[in-house]
Symmetry: C2
Amino acid sequence: MLIEEMHPATAELRLPKVLAALADPARLLTVRALHRAGESACTRLQQAAGLTISRSTFSHHQRVLREAGVIQVRVRGSERILSLRRDDLDACFPGLLDAVLGTAPEHIGS
Amino acid sequence: MLIEEMHPATAELRLPKVLAALADPARLLTVRALHRAGESACTRLQQAAGLTISRSTFSHHQRVLREAGVIQVRVRGSERILSLRRDDLDACFPGLLDAVLGTAPEHIGS
DNA sequence: CGTACTGTTCGATGATTATCGACGTGTTCG
DNA sequence: CGAACACGTCGATAATCATCGAACAGTACG
């Protein structure tokens, strides 16, 4: 059974949903790691982000980011390659992603 | 009984907490209305933001914004005057507030 | 003092969410 | 084909959260 990967159109992006997606520490680290890596498969990205959560939890976070329009997923073989929707985010929320990516580490952690 | 109003220091501001505070539609509208008004008391601000929620709920939102470091509260007579902590936010998260305030209305609503 | 106004605090409640393990599905490779 | 790998989905659980009304506290004003 092929399940269509949900990717909201650019015009459908909503700020509260994007902010909620970025507000979770695990997802925020994921996005920042994804920015450094350019693009990456799930397991590799989870390691790059330094997340020790279970795979099912990471899958959940990946879904939240995708449904908010923050990341994009494409399939390559048995892997899912994740990448930032940089252009779409910049078009809808100019400066937001840059602000999130540019924030100093001391203002990220607890 | 004087209750100390909780205002985190600038160095204590954390991005996930700020994003979570801004992620709620009511709070997002509040912040944007506060930007337009400059500063405002609770009831007036709630009206300016077009929020039809109860006063206790608005009080809750105001607390979340304050504890995240997004807004500032000072007492004037029987009123509480709310204002944005613009300089502190700009210092910790350059461009973030501008992005949130500058987002077009069609990407705010549902 | 008593009334009106402004706003907070206190449960209570229903909704959302982060997390996990178990299982299923598609892919690659021997 | 069969094993190993990469992920997603399901159901459950515990925690967090948005919301409300009722009660409370401080201020202004007659």
